[in-house]
């Protein structure tokens, strides 16, 4: 009987260097890397890239259309939109990264416990995850912020909490798949200790779906933050956020459309880039899924 089973989860990629190269060679992967790279550059070098102090108002230059001084124009307080967008990138990335780290950290731990040790712990963990999952993302995040109070820290915590279940599920499912593979049975038959199996054999093999999930969750977290800020329940003024900039713009849509267009474009491009990168990463890490 010749039934060749394909190896589960991934075919190994020796080293990360070749992973990046593979991503770069894929047109979508390259587009995603460039997009994400640019946003990260904006975030990291915001103080050097921004042309004006971020909160600086200028009553003489209210509603200035894009020009040589104010590249993206100014808003109702005469603040430079370009500078606010640059700092907004910083806020988006920080909120995204912190929230996803919270989610990924807890999700990884819970998923590993549920998948590897099974039994009662698994039942309890998965029940809690199902409960969290029953609340729409944005609604639960809003609810948490409404109760804890509006602040950047609470926004990050809220987005982090709502993203825990998806990581738990991903990690648990991957651990279970890996656990049932022959190479784990093989590791047991060699006489490896349980912990050695967990860290040397299971963990490296679930990194691929985990990384993909993290990339996609980053785009989701940035989106949630922007939505919350748009509704006035996320990042609070005077901190710049793309979501709240867009919300402010709605009142002046007719006279200053640039107030809406630039933040909208940056939100869309950022989320799109992360999604494209996530897709490309999945294709590279898991050729089986590439259809």
């Amino acid at each position: 009987m010749k039934r060749e089973k394909k190896p589960v989860i991934n075919r190994a990629l020796p080293g990360n260097e070749s992973l990046l190269r593979q991503l770069w060679n894929d047109p979508m992967g390259r587009a995603g890397m460039i997009g994400v790279g640019l946003v990260i550059l904006l975030a990291v070098f915001a103080p050097w890239i921004a042309r004006f102090e971020v909160g600086k108002m200028n009553s003489k230059a209210r509603f200035a259309a894009p020009n040589a001084t104010f590249w993206f124009g100014t808003d109702n307080f005469g603040r430079d939109i370009f500078s606010r967008i640059v700092y907004g990138a910083r806020v988006s990335i920080i909120v995204g990264v912190v929230a996803v780290s919270i989610a990924a950290g807890f999700g990884y731990l819970f998923g590993l416990i549920a998948g590897f040790f099974e039994g009662k712990a698994e039942s309890v963990i998965m029940m809690v995850m199902d409960i969290i999952f029953a609340f729409p993302h944005i609604l639960l995040a809003l609810f948490i912020v409404a109760v804890l109070g509006k602040s950047i820290v609470n926004t990050m915590i809220a987005i982090g909490i709502v993203n825990i279940p998806v990581f738990t599920r991903t990690v648990r499912a991957s651990v279970k798949t890996v656990k049932s593979t022959d190479y784990i049975a093989n590791a047991r038959s060699i006489g490896l200790k349980k912990m050695a199996i967990l860290f040397r054999h299971v963990t490296p093999n679930i990194l691929a779906p985990f990384t993909v999930q993290a990339t996609l969750a980053l785009s989701g977290a940035i989106l949630t933050e922007a939505s919350m800020s748009f509704l006035g329940l996320g990042i609070q003024p005077p901190d710049p956020s793309w979501g709240s900039m867009l919300s402010d713009a709605r009142k002046y849509m007719e006279q200053a459309p640039w107030m809406a267009i630039f933040p909208a474009v940056f939100i869309i491009v950022t989320i799109l880039s992360f999604n494209i990168l996530g897709d490309a990463l999945r294709d590279v890490l898991d050729p089986k899924l590439k259809l």
């Binding site: 729409p136 944005i138 109760v147 006035g232 799109l272």
Partner: protein
């Protein structure tokens, strides 16, 4: 089959208890306390004691929870702090509006996504496929509020068109109601459309590779039969699962969309509640939406058993 449904219904109970507990626990985290929130600067010890008694805050936590949940099952979600009106009837009347929006959104999403997803899978790596994949990616990547703002801007600048501000019910004036709802519903559906398109494509591709599809073709089946009777039906299970899960984000999306388009639905009610710290409203809306999500997903699970005979057999 009946056993399966009963089993699933029983399985629902711990989840529902968990949901209500989660909401109750989060409510306990409110900094300061509810009463000072209501009374503001007018508080006197007498008024305070009166409100605490009225809200049952003088009782132990367990009793507070049981009282709340006991009332909730009978449809008593308490009264709004701001208006004093009972919350549950308000939720129900506003839910009708949100449901209309959500259903229209779903219909838009399916009409666009299912055919495009199928075509994309059948013609994979063609120009059509690439275009569809880009559209789908845009769908999942463009936030509701961004596309809504841009569309409003575009309509205003380009056509000097403004969506009606005052909401008119479906049965009051069908035409006006549609005029109000079409654009929001379309935007609401676009995220779902994107993910359903992607899922349809990948699920169809997976099924099209199966041996039984080859066997159906070998029997001399017309493509129409192969694709719809066999391939699409088999690939519909992950698609339906996704749709069930998307109901949650759809309800979340109404919060944003209703705010932008001034539609007095459940989402707007929730948001107003949150902004005004009107806790019975928030608590009631969140509980209602979470339960709704769980119930819809139960229906989805039951739907599976009609599609796939293997499922009810465990």
């Amino acid at each position: 089959m009946r056993d399966y449904i009963i089993r699933r219904l029983l399985g629902l109970i711990p989840i529902l208890i968990g949901i209500s507990l989660a909401i109750f626990i989060i409510m306990q985290l409110i900094p300061g306390d509810v009463v000072s929130g209501i009374l503001g600067i007018e508080q006197t010890p007498e008024l305070r004691a009166m409100w605490e008694k009225k809200l049952g805050l003088d009782k132990p936590l367990v009793e507070q929870y049981l009282t709340w949940i006991g009332k909730a099952v009978t449809g008593d979600f308490g009264e709004s702090f701001r208006t004093g009106a009972p919350v549950f009837p308000e939720i129900m009347s506003r839910f009708r509006i949100s449901a209309e929006l959500a259903i229209m959104g779903c219909i838009f999403a399916w009409i666009i996504a299912l055919p495009l997803g199928i075509i994309s899978a059948l013609k994979r790596n063609s120009v059509i496929d690439r275009v569809v994949r880009v559209i789908a990616l845009m769908g999942v990547s463009i936030p509701n509020f961004a596309s809504a703002t841009l569309i409003i801007l575009f309509l205003a600048k380009g056509f000097n068109y403004h969506t009606p501000v005052k909401y008119v019910g479906l049965f009051e004036n069908f035409g006006t109601n549609m005029e109000i709802m079409v654009i929001p519903a379309f935007i609401l559906g676009s995220v779902m459309a994107g993910s359903v398109m992607r899922m349809t494509r990948s699920s169809m591709l997976e099924v099209l590779r199966q041996d039984y599809i080859k066997a159906v073709r070998a029997k001399g089946a017309p493509e129409r039969v192969t694709i719809f009777r066999h391939a699409f039906r088999n690939s519909s299970i992950p698609i339906i699962t996704l749709i069930g899960m998307q109901i949650g984000s759809l309800m979340g999306g109404t919060v944003v969309i209703e705010q932008i388009f001034s539609i007095p639905g459940l989402g707007q009610y929730t948001l107003t509640g949150i902004n005004q710290r009107d806790y019975p409203v928030v608590q009631g809306c969140v509980l209602f939406i979470a339960v709704l999500y769980v119930v819809i997903n139960l229906l989805v699970d039951i739907l599976y058993t009609y599609i796939d005979p293997r499922i009810s057999y465990n």
